[in-house]
């Protein structure tokens, strides 16, 4: 049945909901976007839902085990009453804010009192920091005296406005990096958490920022390959996902079925899915070609679910290229979804037989983490942080070409036992290394180490065994 003709879908905003429907965000009467093949999308994808309250630590016990929660409490014991300040440049939007929204209440629940402050600045400041961001990723840029002055002036304004009497001050990304000049007045430990790839920075911008970074007690990067040589200790904190978020929590199968029905996805046949923005670096056109090569041998549908086309001219162009590549194939389902459709993305991932992330360039690749967490056999490009997550043939498969991707789709669809095995191992990999609770543990370990608790020495021939 076409979803617009389905009264169950149109009545989702009504008070009386079935248990399944109550998981679906409420509606506002706005026009539905148009499906590339002429099928209107359900109206609920057009309205951002109210975010649910953050979960408590004990809510994670069913996922990671009670003993892991106890480990967090043990780690936090010596830090109880200490104060932590997190500083970044935005309260909403983006991965850093999303992560802090979860991390701050979790640390506070462990009685490591954590406050999150956001720096302020004019448009000129954020234009400069945006340019710095791009330049640190290697984009061409001319660093002017004026840009440096603007950066320093707003950092100084924020330094005067904010208090730094905490035990740990964590500065996220380059925008507030010059706040380190406040450390002369206090005994706090200062940590720079860099979320961006510094492997190939613009030399002038890096030389400008470097003297500030070197004054921190430690730096944290998201991948070994993103780091720079610095005279301070550098730690590796992988990005992580929240297993209780809309995008990752367990879902009733009836809800998954409903979403598939709404989007015209046939669960009785294999489903190959890529979830990502319509961005050339995610190679959605390459995925269409890989699907077409694989389909000569195996029956399957392709779902390309993403966003970025509505508010980004380049995204719209890429979406058009994908539609052109797809042609009239009714088994290719292209969904341009807004960012608040976490539940729907979750359901599509859970319905999928295989998940693909054929990126040509990538940061860490959290969509891969999400796929692995759902136990899905995952095929991904061997770029950026993806090889940290996918150990080839053990927790997923890595590919380097359209042909390689096509072959792996065929192989996984025809070898379900192997697919199941790598899917299971992939989920365990995420559970061990890439969940929010592991991230909390890393922060507690770092606070303890910086507080003077010496790590246990590895015994060598010159040391006596402990």
């Amino acid at each position: 049945m076409n979803p617009v003709d389905n009264p169950a879908i149109l009545s989702r905003s009504q008070e009386s909901r079935t248990p399944v429907e109550s998981k679906i965000p409420s509606l506002r009467p706005v026009p539905a976007p148009i499906h590339p093949h002429g099928r209107p999308l359900p109206k609920y994808v057009t309205t951002p839902p109210t975010p649910p309250p953050p979960p408590h630590l004990d809510d994670y016990a069913g996922i990671i085990g009670k003993q892991q929660i106890e480990t967090l409490h043990f780690l936090a014991e010596e830090l109880r009453g200490r104060r932590v300040k997190m500083v970044n440049s935005t309260a909403v939007g983006g991965g850093v804010a999303e992560m802090l929204n979860r991390l701050v209440p979790m640390l506070s629940e462990l009685e490591v009192h954590t406050q999150w402050d956001v720096i302020t600045g004019g448009n000129d400041f954020f234009e400069v920091t945006k340019a710095f961001h791009n330049a640190l990723h290697g984009a061409p840029y001319e660093l002017t005296r004026s840009a440096q002055d603007i950066f320093l002036m707003y950092n100084e304004q924020n330094r005067q406005r904010m208090n730094f009497d905490d035990d740990f001050v964590i500065i996220h990304d380059p925008q507030p990096a010059a706040l380190i000049r406040a450390r002369n007045d206090h005994a706090a430990k200062w940590i720079w958490r860099c979320h961006i790839d510094l492997s190939n920075p613009h030399p002038d911008v890096w030389q400008f920022l470097r003297p500030f970074i070197e004054q921190f007690d430690a730096a944290i990067f998201s991948s070994q390959s993103f780091a720079r040589q610095l005279p301070i200790p550098q730690y590796l904190f992988y990005p992580c996902i929240d297993p209780l978020s809309e995008k990752n929590k367990e879902l009733d199968d009836t809800f998954v079925q409903k979403i598939c029905d709404d989007f015209g996805i046939d669960r009785s046949r294999p489903i190959v899915t890529q979830v990502s923005r319509f961005d050339r670096l995610k190679d959605p056109v390459g995925v269409v070609h890989a699907y077409k090569l694989a389909k000569k041998y195996v029956d399957c549908q392709l779902v390309l679910a993403g966003g970025g086309a509505a508010d980004d001219p380049e995204g719209a162009a890429v979406l058009q290229e994908v539609k052109d590549a797809a042609g009239n194939d009714p088994d290719i389902i292209i969904l341009d979804l807004p960012p608040w459709c976490g539940l729907e993305i979750n359901a599509i991932q859970r319905a999928s037989t295989i998940i693909v992330q054929k990126s040509l360039r990538e940061g860490f690749g959290l969509t891969v983490t999400e796929a692995l967490w759902k136990g899905k056999p995952t095929i991904a490009g061997a770029v950026g942080g993806i090889p940290n997550q996918i150990i080839h043939k053990l927790t997923g498969v890595l590919v380097h070409s359209i042909e390689g991707c096509a072959f792996q789709i065929r192989y996984l669809l025809t070898h379900p036992e192997f697919a199941r095995r790598i899917g299971t191992a992939g989920r365990e990999h995420v559970k061990e290394n890439f969940l929010m609770t592991t991230n909390v543990k890393r922060w507690l370990l770092l606070f303890r180490i910086l507080s003077g608790q010496k790590p246990v020495p590895i015994p060598s021939d010159t040391q006596s065994a402990a």
Partner: protein, 223 residues
């Protein structure tokens, strides 16, 4: 199998601890096998520990095909299956010090490059970034002074605790054994049980599988 009086109170309690590792990014980096050989010689011991011992904890859920990071990189980025197999065959439990383990790794790479000189400077598809582990040892609520409660603790502690007592212990004890076997032998008089636990193969088991095998062996000692 030996059958002790398990009801008797054992003299010295067993404290289940756990160790948590924080990954530090090291200075060394290798883009070729020659560079790997050099880095193996100069990197700090906690880097060798990270890429052999700690990596087993991070990948405890893999039953086969993952031994240490050097072997994995030799295969996945250098495409050298012979060296990868040789490095993968190194069992960390045959060493009671990091220096002995390091020396063996160096010899394997050096011998391989002597036999395959053209492989020495071929670029890897991805660099090997040396990291290091900072360890923090923590207590758990489980303390035991008899076999029944030992089994209970064994079943309830985290897999990090099993790794701490069963694998990392050799570096602390400087003996070719582990904390569980040592306690069962010295305090409970279960010599054969201790020896059977020592023979568990960690490279063909997940850490959960290792836990189950230890429990099964200890249960058999009660019969």
């Amino acid at each position: 199998m030996n059958a002790p009086n398990t009801a008797r109170k054992l003299i010295k309690p067993f404290y289940f601890n756990t160790s948590e590792h924080l990954l530090r990014i090291g200075r060394e980096r290798a883009c070729t096998l020659n560079e790997l050989l050099h880095a193996l010689q100069v990197c700090p011991e906690d880097s060798i520990f990270q890429h052999t011992y700690s990596t087993l904890q991070e990948h405890h859920f893999i039953r086969q095909g993952f031994s240490n990071d050097f072997a994995h990189w030799s295969l996945s980025s250098c495409h050298e299956p012979i060296l990868a197999e040789q490095l993968a065959s190194v069992d960390v439990r045959e060493y009671t010090s990091i220096s002995g383990l390091r020396q063996h790794m160096i010899e394997l790479v050096r011998d391989f490059l002597a036999a395959h000189p053209r492989s020495a400077d071929r670029s890897a598809t991805e660099p090997f970034y040396f990291c290091a582990a900072d360890l923090v040892v923590l207590p758990t609520p489980f303390v035991t002074n008899n076999i029944e409660s030992f089994l209970e603790g064994l079943r309830k502690v985290t897999l990090h605790s099993i790794h701490h007592h069963f694998i990392e212990a050799r570096l602390r004890l400087r003996l070719m054994t582990n904390d569980f076997s040592e306690w069962l032998k010295e305090e409970a008089g279960l010599e054969q049980t201790a020896a059977a636990i020592d023979r568990i193969d960690i490279y063909t088991n997940t850490m959960e599988g290792v836990r189950r095998q230890i429990a099964r062996i200890v249960e058999q000692s009660l019969n």
